[in-house]
Symmetry: none
Subunit: 403 residues, 2 copies
């Protein structure tokens, strides 16, 4: 799994503790008006001081030029090759609402949509129907029974729902029913590989969609469903076993807890704010020797294209850091799963600032925690999937490779 | 072998000469008292001037965070993937005393150790017995005869010896007899894969150990042996053929000569000092177009945790350079097999400074030969296994790849 076949020969369990703070969408871009990035715009006394005492660098989440989703972005930071262990859209949607997927269960992302009386798509998002209106519809869809499989439907938000198919001999190698444009009818799902399992799964899906169309048929909008991203949970090796750690995750958002649980991190319940996450870390600090702690607001502001909002979100993070820093973990890693420059209002391909602080770092010239300062840091620019090796090395958890 | 399947299509033999100076344990870390690394502390007029006229960078010996032994560290510099071509501890021990291993011969590292009258280990290093006492014991062990194989024992130093097993149908897939701690009995070697060859090899080993115990049994210390690192020489493709070079090695220490000989470098006999190595280079300069020349003292001081000693060793190197620089090789590479920061007193994971000087380099901003200056150099931070490509390119030995 891990990108180094001899890892088990050199990794050793020790008492030293690693805290990995993942700032979602950490990296940004210079604003065209003044040339400062969000990190450079923000007033970050704690992070800048930390950077000046740390080894800094940039991580490439997947490959140069490739902007990752949250799934690949996080798996890379956890040491998994994000190309090898790709999670489907359906799986991520299920994780995002706190579902756990069993072996062989197929998840999909569903849209409520609107079709005309000829069955032609007129609105792929059903007029952005509010959650209050869509939730009872999801509950009706959840009652649908199909031949040879059990289908569950879970409301997500607005027009979105998650769907899980359980049954024997199913496959996720089936096509999506969302044609990705209006003016045409939703598609029938089809087997992609021609195998019996995927043919049967496509049948199950099409039967479900037909029954959903009947149930919703009398409505003006949200009178049809479309399904995308049929996917199984990939078999992910245990993070704790591979790295010889006793790891835990602290994350306010369900999807990040879901991601962490898929690789075997113990999920510690926490509150809805980062301050509460830090408090949780402090309360459970003795129980584990690896903590993943997640900060979301920087990404949210970046996705909204809110440059100052993202800078403020980074400042809020900075202000919340002292009780975390007081713990003085043997290794503190501050990393991001990807960049989300407000200028782009989207996840981007830009390498992401990272710092590692330990007794073996003394600062090597980076004066602030920013894209520019990290670009000349001692860690260099490297693949996120190798970050865990760096963290382990700085925690004295790796012995020499080879004689 | 080489990490580029089309290399043979683009490499061309030319008259240009490449000298690769490998400074063992070259890279260091800032000293916590003053923030300067060993390279920054040392007065290095020749190396600093060279850096200012060269392209500089950092090499990653194996992977970020991974500290290599000398074997993987050197193989990377020679262009071999150090993960793919891992040499065992036994092979390195044999190379270190100048042995050549034939095909199918299994080498191991041996310890003389002390057991009590119950056979329980009381000292894994036999009281650090002096070489004068251990050498006759190794000679006695060398007389041991076992069924179906021929075993040779060679004294190394102090409690250490090398063992080589020759025979038909043997395998190195057998377990070590060293339990790595006292208070228990040495282990029996066992087949790891359950194959006939490894079962037979384990038998041979256990028979040897039983006879060794008999021979040494009357003694107070050094009355038992333990064996580790059973290994075959990996099949390493020829360096000269792959890179279309006529290569030679100049190294005062046997292990580095051994490493070089395994990839087919011609070993030129030399003296015990670097000055003598340089003299040897000058005398044989017309005979080859690639020279590997090795400098050891920096690593030795680093391993001892002697910060100033390492700085002085680097200064001594610098002072010895003029007669080498006078040769004005078409390409001069100064590289290290790994970092050995005195602060850690061990090989480390830190990227290693490197410079390439040729008619195609004019200096790109690095003002000195140090970790910090090389971090912003024109070569960037790259895997050591790609260094040879850079050296060949700067020597006009690579044509364009692809039409």
């Amino acid at each position: 799994m891990i990108d180094f076949e001899y890892l088990s020969d050199i990794v050793q369990p020790t008492d030293s503790k690693i805290v990995m703070l993942v700032v979602d969408g950490l990296g940004g871009m210079p604003h065209p008006d003044h040339g400062r990035s969000e990190l450079e715009e923000a007033d970050l006394p704690n992070l800048d001081k930390l950077a000046s005492e740390s080894s800094c660098g940039l991580t490439i989440p997947v490959l140069p030029g490739v902007a990752p989703g949250s799934g690949p972005g996080h798996l890379g930071l956890f040491g998994y090759d994000p190309v090898k262990y790709l999670m489907g859209r359906g799986v991520l949607e299920a994780l995002g609402i706190g579902l756990t997927l069993g072996e062989g269960e197929i998840a999909a992302r569903g849209n409520l949509c609107t079709v005309d009386d000829q069955g032609i798509l007129t609105d792929r998002r059903a007029g952005r129907i509010p959650t209050s209106e869509s939730t009872p519809l999801a509950e009706m869809l959840d009652q649908i029974e199909v031949d040879g499989a059990q289908i569950s439907v879970y409301p997500v938000e607005g027009y979105r729902f998650a769907l899980v198919i359980k049954g024997e001999g199913l496959s996720d190698n089936v096509s999506e029913t969302d044609p990705q444009r209006t003016g045409v009818a939703p598609l029938k799902s089809q087997s992609i590989d021609g195998d019996a399992a995927s043919k049967r799964t496509a049948q199950v899906i099409n039967e479900f969609v037909a029954k959903a169309a009947e149930i919703l048929g009398g409505r003006d909008r949200a009178n049809m469903v479309m399904l995308r991203g049929f996917s199984l949970m990939p078999e992910l090796p245990s993070f704790g076993e591979q790295f010889q750690l006793n790891p835990a995750a602290i994350a306010a958002y369900p999807m990040y807890r879901g991601l962490a649980s898929t690789i075997g991190l113990k999920i510690i319940p926490t509150g809805r704010t980062f301050d509460e996450e830090v408090q949780t870390l402090r309360e459970h600090y003795e129980e584990h020797n690896f903590f993943y702690i997640h900060y979301k607001p920087a990404d949210a502001a970046g996705e909204d294209g809110d440059f100052l909002g993202k800078a403020r979100a980074l400042e809020a993070l900075d202000q919340s850091l002292p009780p975390l820093l007081e713990l003085a973990p043997d290794v503190l890693v501050v990393a991001g799963d990807h960049s989300t420059p407000a200028v782009l209002a989207a996840h981007s391909w830009h390498p992401v600032p990272v710092l590692i602080n330990s007794k073996w770092t003394h600062g090597t010239g980076s004066r602030a925690f920013s894209e520019r300062e990290c670009a000349t840091g001692a860690l260099g620019t490297f693949y996120a999937k190798h970050l865990m090796f760096q963290a382990l090395a700085h925690a004295d958890k790796l012995i020499k490779f080879g004689p």
